[in-house]
């Protein structure tokens, strides 16, 4: 399957009465976007109001609590549309041409539960730990409707849809724009791939998806990953939004939709594809709480690796605690099938770095890349402007009583920073 991405570099965002992308600037009318969001019944039912704001790199701005980060894209040629099964119909994506508004993101923010987390600082020490401080962010802050307290599942769903709709609306503005740069990505059928690259090791990306419940879910073509058996996805499908995030607890190692669209394992495997390896496909597998599900999912992952006659598998996980069990199960079982693995994880080694980093371990996991210790403490300075609310900073995952100091600084673990210890290997942060 072949997909061409056309990158339209966004260098500025401005509010205006018009909606268009011109000479690298996104002009957007918040009211027009809002109207589009409210065309969805669930959004209408559960969101009282939206407010919009713009956060630029280097500004003294803090966005919190962050729900999702989404990159605007639009399918200009080929079957299907972005976010299949959620915004677009379920038709299989990943081929043809897609335009990307690069350099910006839609960020959804606002409370869902009282301990919401996710902080993005656009400057200061915190900015070094999140990739989103380098983007022009169009922030959509949602305010819940009356009575949402007993309907938080519905409200979370509404905010999730709103974010994707906003990104879709903005993406659409790039349809007729000529991209600044294009890149092509192609993977082949099993037979064709082996014929084309007979001497290269065959590698797949085992992509583990968080799948546990409210604020811990992932959706594939709109299907709750909890309900899915381990299966195969073509790498280019992720570039059209086949996988979206319902997942932000805790912020540091959850994959936002932006991470899924810009999956760095996919990108780096493609960079090596045809040169040092043959990138065969993605295998997606979940991380359910039910033990028999973990057993089944990891058994199937290993079975597919063996069936595909892979030489190697790169495994990325998502989350803390019980996903470590899935990670080790996957790694062990794949290795025992004679397929070599490298795994990507993050660590919870305690604030002093002395505790055991993972909840599970095995000597077969001998090739590990780490996104860093999420317990390490950071002090975030006061920012001039907060988009969202600071109400929950004390109670955010990784924060603690007194986390928000009287002088406005925040002392908290890296856990609270959106994307800080990402386990797809998105960042340069590591630990030894």
């Amino acid at each position: 399957m072949k997909l061409e991405l056309g990158y339209i570099q966004i260098k500025d965002i401005q509010f205006s009465k018009e909606c268009k992308v011109e000479n690298g600037t996104l002009y957007v009318d918040p009211d027009a976007v809002k109207a589009y969001l409210y065309e969805d019944d669930d959004v209408k039912a559960w969101v009282k109001d939206f407010s919009f704001d713009i956060a630029k790199p280097g500004e003294s701005v803090r966005i919190t609590p962050v729900k999702d980060v989404i990159e605007p894209r639009v399918k200009v040629e080929g079957p299907g549309g972005v976010f299949p099964g959620v915004i677009s119909k379920v038709e299989t994506v990943g081929s043809g041409k897609t335009h990307v508004l690069r350099g910006m993101a839609v960020v959804t923010a606002g409370k869902i539960v009282g301990f919401q987390e996710g902080i993005i600082d656009m400057s200061g020490p915190g900015a070094d730990y999140t990739p989103f401080s380098k983007l022009l962010n169009l922030v959509v802050v949602a305010e819940p409707a009356e009575g949402y307290q007993d309907h938080k599942h519905e409200y979370e769903h509404a905010v999730r849809i709103a974010g994707l709709r906003a990104a879709t609306y903005i993406g659409e503005l790039g349809r007729e724009v000529t991209p600044d740069e294009t890149a092509e990505f192609e993977t082949y059928g099993i037979k064709e791939g082996m014929e084309k690259m007979p001497n290269l090791p065959r590698v797949a990306y085992v992509h583990m998806l968080q799948s546990q419940g409210l604020l811990h879910d992932t959706y594939v073509y709109g299907v709750d990953a909890k309900r899915s058996l381990t299966t195969i996805l073509l790498p280019t499908e992720t570039m059209d939004g086949a996988i979206i995030s319902g997942n932000c607890v805790s912020a540091c190692d959850k994959n936002t939709t932006y991470h899924h669209l810009n999956n760095p394992v996919v990108a780096n495997l493609f960079a090596a594809h045809g040169k040092t390896l043959n990138y065969v496909c993605n295998i997606i597998t979940n991380e359910n709480v039910y033990l028999a599900d973990k057993q089944r999912s990891s058994d199937w992952t290993a079975k597919l690796c063996r069936l595909l006659d892979l030489d190697g598998a790169l495994v990325s996980q998502e989350g803390f605690g019980n996903p470590d069990t899935d990670l080790i199960m996957n790694c062990k079982k794949i290795e025992l099938q004679g397929v070599k693995t490298v795994i990507i994880t993050d660590e919870y080694a305690g604030q002093d770095g002395k505790s055991q980093s993972l909840a599970d371990a095995d000597p077969l996991a001998d090739a590990v890349v780490t996104g860093g210790n999420a317990n390490e403490v950071i002090v975030l300075p006061k920012m001039d402007k907060v988009i969202g609310t600071l109400d929950y900073v004390d109670v955010i995952a990784g924060g603690h009583a007194g986390s928000l100091r009287p002088d406005g600084t925040i002392e908290a673990e890296l856990q609270v920073i959106t994307g800080a210890t990402n386990e797809m290997g998105f960042n340069r942060l590591s630990a030894r």
């Binding site: 780096n268 390896l277 790169l314 993972l358 000597p363 780490t370 942060l429 030894r432």
Partner: protein
């Protein structure tokens, strides 16, 4: 006002001689000697070596207690801001001496320490206790080792926080520290996979905690036909401890015959173990080595037979290596005698 450092080196680096001079006793010299010059130069006046202690590697190995005492006395008198040993590269006894003496200075005098050696040097076993810079495996690595050690030492003297092991050049010591790599994790992962697939060397960023798992043997189908042996690390011995098994750090194990013995009593058996209150074990050693219960089971036909010999040692402070060695030896005796299963009691 610069920081004061005491440097420890061996006879070779002090230019006294090679192996043939490894027996020399510790000497105290003023200022730097040999490789100390490289350290001094790197500090550019912010720190300086005020005293160098030279000690033969054989002397340290054979007179460790004396050597330690002498070195500690000298260091204590000097009251330096830092103690540096080596680097020892691949010299095994030198590396052992460096790590051991650095550990002693750290623990008994509370002075920050640093040493350096090749990762396979036996002295590196102490890397979780003493900060050890990883060096090449020969003195040709001095050009790189000295500045790395000097830089890290200066941070320690200034009380600055030290970074991750990969950044600062020390051997991973079990304390995880964050730092920023040059490349993103996904690229590092792909590179690592390509290396692993082509049998090229790679270094994991997180070494899994080491396990010593033993796969369980098959279960015994019919206990009534099995010969069961009793073994213990609880130190049960015949009264009087005839083979003088030590109360801690046991250097050997005992093999004793219990043919015809139905019950262990205060008159006939005792415990040699120094790590628990012996009163109840001395009053009735069956509490630790349940000969009486096994005899009952034998009479009732629940087990086939209680083996005529039991094997015992004291687990208190005994090294893993020794414990493994004892068991490896007497396991062969048990196998030869047709024993089917062992009950090992520990305290």
């Amino acid at each position: 006002m610069s920081y004061k450092v005491v440097h420890y080196i061996n006879q070779f680096f002090a230019n006294i001689g090679g192996e043939e001079m490894a027996h020399v006793a510790p000497e105290l010299r003023d200022g730097f000697v040999g490789p100390g010059m490289a350290l001094n130069t790197a500090w550019k006046g912010e720190a300086e070596i005020v005293k160098t202690i030279v000690c033969g590697d054989s002397y340290f190995a054979e007179h460790e207690a004396d050597a330690k005492k002498q070195v500690l006395d000298w260091v204590k008198a000097e009251k330096p801001d830092m103690f540096i040993a080596g680097p020892a590269f691949n010299a095994g006894r030198y590396g052992y001496a460096c790590a051991t003496i650095a550990n002693a200075v750290q623990e008994e005098l509370g002075i920050p320490v640093l040493t350096g050696m090749y990762e396979e040097n036996p002295g590196a076993d102490l890397k979780n206790k003493v900060l050890i810079v990883a060096t090449a495996n020969s003195a040709a690595g001095m050009r790189k080792a000295a500045p790395t050690m000097a830089k890290l030492a200066l941070k320690l003297m200034k009380g600055e926080k030290i970074g991750a092991s990969a950044e600062e050049g020390y051997m991973p010591n079990g304390i995880r520290r964050n730092f920023f790599e040059k490349e993103v994790g996904a690229k590092r992962a792909v590179d690592m996979l390509v290396a692993k697939l082509s049998d090229k060397p790679y270094t994991t960023e997180y070494p899994m905690p080491s396990f010593d798992r033993v796969a369980p043997n098959k279960a015994i189908k019919d206990l009534s036909k099995a010969t069961i042996a009793l073994c213990t690390s609880g130190g049960i011995v015949p009264k009087g401890n005839p083979d003088h098994i030590e109360s801690s750090s046991a250097s050997h194990y005992g093999e004793y015959c219990i043919a015809g013995v139905d019950d262990l009593t205060a008159e006939t058996y005792e415990t040699a173990h120094g790590g628990y209150d012996p009163v109840y074990a001395n009053a009735d050693a069956d509490r630790v080595l349940p000969v009486d219960v096994l005899r009952e089971m034998e009479k009732e036909g629940k087990i086939g037979k209680l083996h005529d010999f039991f094997y015992t040692t004291v687990g208190n402070g005994t090294s893993v290596a020794n414990a493994k060695g004892f068991a490896a030896e007497y396991a062969q005796k048990l196998l030869k005698a047709g024993v089917h299963a062992v009950i090992m009691t520990s305290t």
